[in-house]
């Protein structure tokens, strides 16, 4: 390997490790501190305001991104090569990427619920929404409400994507090939969620092998979701499509959410827990995007590192 390439790989690895330190340590301390303040409550026992307070830790990765750039003196360019990828460019059909970011979560959420019904992971209950004190008309507003809140209140998801897709993934992709980078990136992201998964944030607490199987499932989910998010980021040259997709997905855009009662608790087998409809639907979409990856042109400039020779020129 050429000395220059070797040196830049070492530089990327060093910066990545600094970033991971900033992303993990303060955020895990935040999660643990909030949990301690609540007297060790599990996620479902916390009020929604305390849940939101704990979820503020999701801003950690983007703050870690900024802190890493300051410490490593990379600077904080907003757009361009080796930047924070905060720009928005809709030219050359990149607007399609933004549309995908808005509608893909709806697609995989509905698909996920439909698959849960087929696999027996859920039961169709035409009055399930009543348990949440909802009007039936409200259920049909779910997709639109999720898209609106996802776009307007995307700052929380931006907190994650600004770090994971904005800093970590470009460096992982430079350090190793696409497939290992996507797998490792997903595992890191999934492990970062471990303190929340362990108190029932992602899958509740009543499943076989709690919390370890939950953490494993989270890593698998993050690998597949990471494929979609990294695809959107690379093809648009911006973290905003990933932030929007993440936010819309978190907001639960599926109409079937109001009619599919999930199978939970001791009746839920290991297979049905690990291979939920949502996981399978995200896997299918990730697989399609992997096939299309090389056929869709990407915004190459943003992910290329700026070298000293470029600065001199």
């Amino acid at each position: 390997m050429a000395p220059e390439k070797n040196a830049s790989r070492k530089e990327d690895l060093k910066r990545l490790l600094i970033y991971l330190l900033f992303a993990f340590v303060p955020v895990w301390l935040w999660f643990l501190a909030i949990r301690a303040l609540t007297g060790g409550q599990l996620w479902n026992d916390m009020s929604d305001m305390v849940q939101s307070l704990m979820a503020l830790g999701m801003l950690g990765p983007v703050l870690a991104h900024v802190a890493t750039r300051l410490v490593t003196k990379e600077g904080c360019p907003l757009t361009g090569r080796d930047s924070m990828m905060l720009g928005i460019d809709l030219k050359n059909r990149k607007w399609i990427i933004f549309l995908l970011a808005i509608f893909l979560p709806w697609l995989y959420s509905e698909m996920g619920n439909a698959l849960d019904l087929l696999l027996g992971n859920g039961v169709f209950d035409p009055e399930y929404y009543l348990e949440y004190g909802m009007d039936k008309r409200t259920v049909f507003l779910f997709p639109l409400a999720a898209i609106t809140s996802g776009v307007i209140a995307s700052f929380a998801a931006f907190g994650e994507e600004g770090g994971w897709r904005g800093y970590m993934m470009p460096r992982l992709l430079r350090l190793m090939g696409r497939t290992p980078a996507l797998i490792l990136g997903g595992v890191i992201w999934g492990l970062w969620h471990a303190p929340l998964t362990a108190i029932g944030h992602n899958f509740g607490t009543d499943y076989p092998g709690f919390p370890w199987l939950g953490i494993l499932k989270m890593c698998i989910l993050c690998i597949f979701l990471g494929v979609i998010l990294t695809f959107l980021t690379e093809k648009s040259g911006s973290v905003w499509p990933a932030a929007i997709l993440h936010a819309v997905g978190n907001a639960g855009p599926s109409i079937l959410n109001g009619f599919v009662r999930p199978e939970e608790g001791a009746e839920q087998g290991l297979f049905s827990f690990l291979f939920s409809g949502r996981l399978i639907s995200i896997l299918l979409i990730a697989a399609v995007l992997l096939i299309l990856w090389n056929r869709v042109p990407d915004a190459k400039e943003a992910s290329k590192p700026v070298r000293e020779t470029d600065r001199a020129a």
Binding site: S52, L56, D135, A153
Partner: protein, 259 residues
Amino acid sequence: MKGLLYKDFVAIRGKRFCAILLVLTAVMFLTRIIFSDFVLGNAGYVTIDEERVFLPDYIVLYFPAFFSFLVAGFFPKYLMESVRCDEQSRRRGYLASLPVSKREYVASKYVLMGILLYVLYSLSMVWSICVGGLAVQTDRIRDVIHLIEYMSLVLFVFLLFAAAIELPLLLLLGAEKVHMVEVGFFLTLGLLVTWYALFGDLDIISRLDFDRIMDAAERHSFELMAIGTGSPILVLVLYYLSFRLTAALYERKEDVYGS
């Protein structure tokens, strides 16, 4: 576009505004932590109608709303300032020598105001979460916080709507004329409010009952959700149409670079 945005960021004294936001956030955090159940303990509790209530929560709870309205008050000023600075410094004449189209110049104003509102709305949400999350968790506190969050959305959607109306006027008529119209409008509004305060029925205000408001909100939850969902989309579409119209008219306007 980057250069145009930075120019306007400097024109509206963006760094000072960011510093103000940071100070407000720090004040919010410190006040919340100092006047919290964890720090004050029993000293903060009072008994009202045989119910033990943590009094500081009911004061600190309104800080996000107060701060949101405070920073929202800066917004029209920044809107005007970004255009006025270009007029006074005759910067547009200099822009004519650069590869910047009139359309891009108009777009930069719309983009800057959009970014400003997005950041302010996100910050108001973070404030509400911090204040609510560290409060003693009761149903009433939760209802107040949810109401404040909903009103923040309404406020910032309104500001976006106002920007969609005001930006075309500023860019096409100039800052001075729009300023005169605004002064006239707010003077009239102030006179109307004063007249009502002196001669109107103020009992309406005393009849406002928080519990009745929350009951009404629960009865009309679908309508509120529909408004909360539909109005941002509608206003965003209006904002975009405002940009298209303004850009089209501005491109036809003569002597923009001399003013």
